[in-house]
Every structure is written in structure tokens, then in C-alpha cells.
Amino acid sequence: MAREKKRRSHGRRSPLAAAALIGIGLVLSGGIYAGASAAVAATSEPTAADTALTAEDGQKLFQANCATCHGLDLQGTDDGPSLYGVGALAVEFQVSTGRMPLQMQGPQAEQKPVQFTEEQILAMADYVQSVAPGPDLPSDHILDGEGDLARGAELFRINCAMCHNVAAAGGALTQGKWAPDIQDTSALHIYAAMVTGPQNMPVFNNMNLTPEDKRDIISALLYQQEEQAPGGFNIGSLGPVAEGFFVWIFGIGGLVAITVWITAKSN
């Protein structure tokens, strides 16, 4: 106790203590947030329905949840586009990524927790497909991830990387729109995005990218999703700007701190 007191009176608390405390606080709060959001994500997993639903159930679901904007017969209203010809694939993509039902009007539909079970989504997709057909769900062969990785990566760089970033980390577009990151997107949703061209994304039809091209791109992306980053901490794969800021703040900041320590008088 006496020694403790003596230490205090000499001002032995390191000048780095404040910085260390802030660092520890940031790491802790970040960790708790990450844990909490993972827990929330885990609990919001939709539970599978017991019975198989039909297109008629899909119609009821559509009329209850979608018709306000898209019209009772998919014809569209002032608040939402017509769904003629968008197909089952577009419904599956928009609803099971949480983009639809739309949270609010804005530059772009936000991804949010999924509102329906897989069965309900497929039932609505069946209904939309039955009224005005469009692209349907692909065969398993296209989604199997066994395509030519090098070719897929080249096609990705030519057709996709300008918006989605060469590491698939996404990027900004104009006026609040953005190309989402596709580092944890499923094979089906990558395929659906290419075929249906959601929102501002261009459509890549089978004459532009053949089904085999799409399979290669999906394979390359799936490979990239699983592969560890060889360089270690990738800072969101956002490229030289993020990396430059990291070096400016932490690298040069560290050098400044060391310089201050070297020149400070010992107490």
C-alpha cells in the first residue's frame, strides 16, 4: 500500500497509459459489437416452414406484401416497377438478400434481414414466374464452383471489377449508389445478379457471358471467398487509398510517438 502511494506521488503512470486505455476500449467495444451483431444475425435466421407451398400461396403472399408497390397483377405502380418478365430468379435474388420488401425509397435498395422463409420466397417466385415468365433458377452445374478459375478471374476483371473492385470488395457509384461487396455472396445470387441486372447493374445475358463463362466467374469468386488473404490483414481489400491511410495514421503516427518518447526527458 505504502509503495503504491509512493509510486503515485512520483507520477509513475506512463504517458502511454492513456493511449493504451483508449486502444483497449476500442478493441473491447469493437469486439462486443461484432459478437452482438453476429448473435443478432444468428437469431434472425428464418425458420423453415413445415409444408410445401404452392404458387397459389405465393400469390397470397405477393398480394399481402408486394402488391402495394408492384400492383396486384405485377403491372407496377408509381412506387414500383412492373415485374413482367423479371422471372423467378429476380424474385429469389431480391427477397432472399433482404432487398425486397423495400425498406424505404433511396438511392438503392438496402440489404436487410430476410423477411420470408425460403419456402415462402420460392412460392412467390413460382407465382411471378407463372404470371409472366422470365429467367428461372439455374442448374446445379453452373453453381458448382468447378469451373476454370483463371478464365473466370479474367472475365471478372473485364466485366465486373470496375464496379465491384478487383478483390470483390465493392465500390462507390454516383449519388449515393454503390456496387455491393460480393465477398460472401452465394453462387446463386452471383448468378442471379448477372442474369437479372438488379437496379443499376447491367444485365449480362448468355450472348455476352455464356453459361460456361458465368460458371467460371462464380468459381473464381467462390475460390476467392475461401482463400486466405496471402498478405495478412487486407484492410477491407479497398486498395491503395485505404492502405495509404493506414500507413499515414498508424505507421507515421507510431513513428511520431516513438520520436516523442525518445526525446522526452525521463522522470
Binding site: E154, C163, F204
Partner: protein, 354 residues
């Protein structure tokens, strides 16, 4: 030490040096050095021993880290069956950590040693005047005069002037070398910048496969990345990349009524299909961020935006000119072909294009 006994000593001997300062009656008082403050390690033998322990511990940590770096080299093999990205990363990480700690611990230990244990008494070193004495200055001038006299540099004007000429001429090879960085295959660089591989009848094919594109393939809302057909067959040795950098084109289709075309360019599109150079007119980045609902093309480098419906005019950003449009039509088999080459040079401004 001076600062311990007489803090005013410096001021009392203050004598402005002639020629270096204007003597004033009330010069700013020299505050002198602050009183010496003893460190914890000077007063408390226990703290002193602790600092000693810290310093030698740091040096031993350095030894351990060096040994660890050698061990990590063996523990994380990256050859043969272990040659995976993950192993290479671990290998780099752990060897790097070892070397980093080995060097950091030496540095931190040395500085901690000097700050907490070595003598920290302040000393005053008076500055002397920097001006040489008169005899020194005269001697230097004499030395230069003698050197001039003996070398004959001022007297032998022919030799001196020829030396100047040689020095000037020695720069000329550098100019030649740098000038030679311009294309040297007998082609005029201005011509190279003006022309692309696009010409009348050249088919529009997909990048990189070389598949020709039919007008019917281009659905509304899609974006095709296009190169000229004769480029697709080039090898890298034949200038594939140089030609591709100029010839890349983005092909999109809109509803014909969405296009706001000028009278003279009405025939440059085909049924709502338009083709524009992908090379930004600002500094030449590939402009390919196509937003199919706004019909805007965004350049990722400096955020220039071009409106595809209005001949790719600049709607935002630093680009000075619209993207050059490639006039297109279809051939007898229905494939899209260029009606002509670009009517203007693609890409950024250069010395003969502003």
C-alpha cells in the same frame, strides 16, 4: 556545472559580436537552463535496479526473438507440400515478428538505458564566432589567386571556353536518350495517338474471347466490353496491349427514344445500340462503371461522369470532352461492325490535341 551555481553567468558575459548583431541597451535576458531535476532512478536505488533489469531484459528479449526468427524459418516450411498461401503467410508473419522484436528490443533497450541510467546533466557549449580571422581570409583569397595564376584558368581563355562547351555538350546525350522514349518504330507518335485499330467494316467482338456480337444479342440494360476483331487475333509481341489500350469500347443498348442524338450523328447508332470509347478523356482511365438505370458512365479514377444518352457528354467531373463515339452498323449476317474509325483521337489531351 554552470547551471547549478550561477544561472545568470551567460548573461553577464554577454558581448554582442561586431558585425553579427546590433548592440542594444536592453537585450532579452537569457533565461538560462532550468534547474536540474533528478530522475527517479537517481534518487531511488530500487528504481535504478528496476531500470537496469528492464534494460538487460530487453536485450535478452532481443536475443530470444532472433533465435525465434531462426526457429520460425524451420517451423513454418513453405516448400513442396507446404507451399500454400496460408503457410507462406505464417512463414512471413512469424519470421518478420521475430526480426522486428529483435531489432525493436535493442533500440528500446538502448534508449531506455540512455534515458534512465546514463548521466543526464546538461552542459553548455559556448559557440564561437564563425567568421575567420583577417589573416585566414587573406590567405584563402591568396590561395585562389595563386591557383588561378598557376592553372591559367583565367588566362587561357581558349581552354576555359572549350571546357564550358564540353560541359554543355555532355548533357546532350541525356536529351537524346529521353527523347527516344517516344515510339521508335518509325511511326509518328502523334499519328499513333490519333489512330486506333477501328476502321470501316471492323467487327465488334467480345473482350477477350473475340466472339462477334449480333445486334439482337445486345439486350436493353446490358453492357458489352468490346474490342476490334483484328485485335483479338494479335499476340502480345505484336503490340496487343498497346492497341487494346486505345481500342477498348463499351457497347450498350437503350430504347431508341431515350437517345438524344444530334442530326449528324443519327446514323452512328444502330436501333438504340451505341458504342463509346472506354478511355477517359481526362487522364485515360477505363470508364466502364455503367449504371443501367441512370445511363451514366462513371470513371473510377476522378469521378468524371458521362451521359450515354447524349453522346457521352460530361455531366460531372474533370473530363474536358465527351467520350469519342464509334459509329456502328450491322453487316449482311447481322453482326455489329464499325461504320468507320473514331472521328477524333481517343483518350486524354496531348501536345497536339487540347
Amino acid at each position: 556545472m554552470a547551471h547549478e551555481h550561477d544561472t545568470q553567468a551567460v548573461e553577464r558575459v554577454y558581448r554582442p559580436s561586431p558585425g553579427l548583431a546590433v548592440a542594444v541597451d536592453d537585450p532579452v535576458q537569457n533565461p538560462g537552463l532550468p534547474p536540474h531535476r533528478e530522475r527517479v532512478t537517481d534518487k531511488d536505488p530500487q528504481a535504478n535496479r528496476r531500470a537496469v533489469r528492464t534494460v538487460y531484459t530487453l536485450f535478452y528479449v532481443s536475443v530470444a526473438a532472433s533465435i525465434w526468427a531462426v526457429a520460425a524459418y524451420m517451423l513454418f516450411p513453405i516448400e513442396g507440400e507446404y507451399a500454400t498461401m496460408g503457410n507462406i503467410r505464417n512463414n512471413n508473419l512469424f519470421i518478420g515478428l521475430g526480426i522486428a522484436f529483435a531489432l525493436l528490443a535493442i533500440g528500446i533497450g538502448a534508449i531506455h538505458w540512455s534515458k534512465s541510467l546514463m548521466s543526464d546533466k546538461e552542459h553548455v557549449e559556448a559557440r564561437h564566432s564563425t567568421r575567420g580571422s583577417e589573416p585566414t581570409r587573406a590567405a584563402v583569397i591568396q590561395a585562389f589567386a595563386t591557383a588561378n595564376e598557376e592553372s591559367g584558368f583565367g588566362r587561357r581563355k581558349m581552354i576555359r571556353n572549350s571546357l564550358f562547351a564540353a560541359l554543355v555538350a555532355s548533357v546532350i546525350p541525356g536529351i537524346t536518350l529521353f527523347r527516344n522514349l517516344a515510339p521508335n518504330d518509325g511511326n509518328d507518335p502523334v499519328q499513333l495517338l490519333n489512330e486506333t485499330m477501328w476502321a470501316k467494316g471492323e467487327r465488334l467482338v467480345l473482350d477477350p474471347e473475340g466472339t462477334p456480337v449480333k445486334a439482337a444479342d445486345v439486350t436493353i440494360g446490358s453492357a458489352f466490353h468490346i474490342i476490334p476483331e483484328s485485335l483479338a487475333g494479335l499476340s502480345h509481341d505484336e503490340g496487343y496491349l498497346e492497341e487494346k489500350a486505345k481500342a477498348i469500347v463499351l457497347l450498350v443498348r437503350l430504347l431508341p427514344e431515350q437517345l438524344k442524338e444530334t442530326e449528324e450523328r443519327k446514323t452512328w447508332s444502330y436501333d438504340g445500340i451505341v458504342a463509346y470509347s472506354k478511355v477517359c478523356t481526362h487522364v485515360g482511365c477505363p470508364v466502364a462503371l455503367y449504371e443501367q438505370q441512370t445511363h451514366h458512365l462513371l470513371c473510377p479514377c476522378h469521378q468524371s461522369q458521362f451521359d450515354v444518352t447524349e453522346h457521352a457528354k460530361v455531366v460531372f467531373g474533370p473530363a474536358a470532352r465527351p467520350l469519342p463515339q464509334l459509329p456502328i452498323t450491322v453487316d449482311a449476317e447481322g453482326y455489329l461492325v464499325a461504320k468507320d474509325g473514331f472521328s477524333e483521337p481517343v483518350g486524354p489531351s496531348f501536345w497536339e490535341r487540347h
